[in-house]
Symmetry: C2
Subunit: 325 residues, 2 copies
């Protein structure tokens, strides 16, 4: 019984920045994201007793053995949850612009969790899917749902209370997310590595932990009240704080490049001229500009005129997991 | 009796970032600087009983009344220290490239303190001059001395233990400081204002306070041992941490512009190619590159090739206060 699921990427407005457990992907703070409508992963899973190991193709290509083993370890968790004992054939197709700084791991593990549970003939609540997806990649816990989504960090050591829930469904409060790709040589400190070094060495990490809860409370209130300006101010502040913590790491590092700052400056300049837009930045040089559907086109045009901007990928608020067959 | 003193600007390697007393200019942390040889202020002071108020010309021009009153308040402190009762005629000439982000307040108040004490026919130790100068501008406390200078924050409420002392005299460990002016519209949050907002609102300020003492201890050790690399690593880290604190202020702000980051990236790229250089940044977009006299020319040339670099002002380690007549 082959089952296919689709899950969309998400962009965090309150960042997931730090793990308290590296193997279970348990975070040190709760986070909040928007699921995006344009970028997604389709994954089909079929358990089959003729297989003597899990197989995995990504965009119709077999992956490296390291990658395959990683997926197989994840499938062990699904087997343990469902009681399924067979190996499986996994086929995954990404529709994610990795050039714009999107990882496909959020949509990927979310789609995989959903398809695998279904293919095993089992049932899972969205919370259970979120817990499963989280164990592949932290941010995947949020891609289970559409709209605005909070990943509640939880307290338990086994992670059973660390899952996402929907704050506001898609179609209620539409915002526009412009993913701005800047011209840059990629000299990347992986998100996982940067997070770890920051947690372990930055004197600013405690300040992050001390204030992220307040940011989360405030932004949820802004989202529920559809207060775009307040949401924008909080999300930009939260992103700045996340990146500030890396400057205190030892050795220090910064995901921004001069091109990143140029886009940030442009966003602030447009805002001073009355255009509602705010930026957020993840563990890389690209910028996501959050604006309203009304001003999206004008802002995209202005951003495209910057010499450092290579491309822009516009999105709106997208849906949660769906099943294709 | 007209007396003229000269004092040089300085560049902080461990930043003065935060006041515990706004009127006495008492800092929340000790700091450390290099006095620069090329930029200075010459100030002459003459007390005269024909005057019914202090007069002040800067570069042969009378200053605004606000500025004059500020200087007069400072002279009150000198009068109180020396027992002098007359008003004075003050003439000051700046040789400081303010375009490169240098304030003239450090050299200015240091020269003024020295000339005024002398003109009053009094004597002051360098520590006493440092305490006086500090009450005009915090960083002026360091410009009393040449070479590498530490401003010890002190503990007393009256500030009598908050003064600078020399760590290593000029001529012992020569380093080159390239002040890099970047093309930029100045949209400045004054250092005093930025400092205050950061102390009052940034969740990262405690992390700054918790670690600046260690940076200071380590850099003093590096300087005394003339370990350029270690000194460079510490000063760059300290500058990054200072600027990180502003990203947590509410509202957040950043002194860097995209041009600033471009110079920072160039410095790191040169270093990766084996050229010894490190950056530091004060409360503005310009960058100071610390390098060795040996590599100074090569680095200056490479930096001048960047499109964002408007001009470069090279300096070496300079002297403390001197008296011209």
């Amino acid at each position: 019984m082959k089952k296919t699921a689709r899950a969309h990427t998400n962009i965090a407005l309150i960042k997931y920045w730090g793990k308290r457990d590296e193997t279970l992907f348990l975070p040190t703070n709760s986070s909040l994201s928007i699921t995006l409508d344009q970028f997604y992963t389709d994954t089909s899973v079929e358990f089959d007793d003729v297989l003597d190991q899990d197989t995995f193709t990504l965009n119709n290509q077999p992956v490296s053995e390291t990658e395959r083993i990683k997926i197989s370890r994840f499938l062990d968790k699904v087997r343990s949850f469902t009681g399924e004992t067979r190996f499986s054939r996994v086929e995954s197709t990404n529709h994610v612009p990795t050039a714009a700084g999107f990882a496909s791991s959020a949509s990927g593990f979310s789609a995989l969790a959903a398809a695998a549970v279904k293919a095993a003939g089992a049932e899972a609540t969205l919370e259970e899917l979120s817990i499963l997806a989280r164990q592949g990649s932290g941010s995947a816990s949020r891609s289970v749902y559409g709209g605005f989504v909070e990943w509640q960090m939880g307290e338990r050591e086994d992670g059973l209370d660390s899952y996402a829930k929907q704050i506001l469904p898609e179609g209620t409060f539409d915002v526009s997310v412009l993913s701005v790709e800047v011209s840059t040589e990629q000299k990347k400190i992986l998100s996982r590595e940067g997070m770890k070094r920051t947690v372990e060495t930055s004197p600013f990490y405690q300040g992050w932990l001390d204030t992220v809860g307040e940011d989360l409370t405030n932004i949820k209130d802004a989202i529920i009240n559809q207060d775009f300006t307040r949401m924008g101010e909080i999300l930009e502040y939260n992103a700045l704080k996340m990146h500030a913590t890396t400057l205190g790491a030892n050795p220090p590092f910064l995901y921004w490049q001069s091109a990143t700052l140029k886009v940030m400056e442009a966003v602030q300049a447009m805002r001073e001229k009355g255009l509602e837009c705010y930026f957020t930045i993840d563990a890389g040089p690209n910028v996501k500009v959050i604006t309203t559907p009304k001003t999206e086109k004008e802002i995209e045009k202005k951003l495209r005129s910057l010499d450092v901007v290579k491309d822009i990928y516009p999105c709106r608020v997208g849906p949660g997991i769906s099943y294709i067959d």
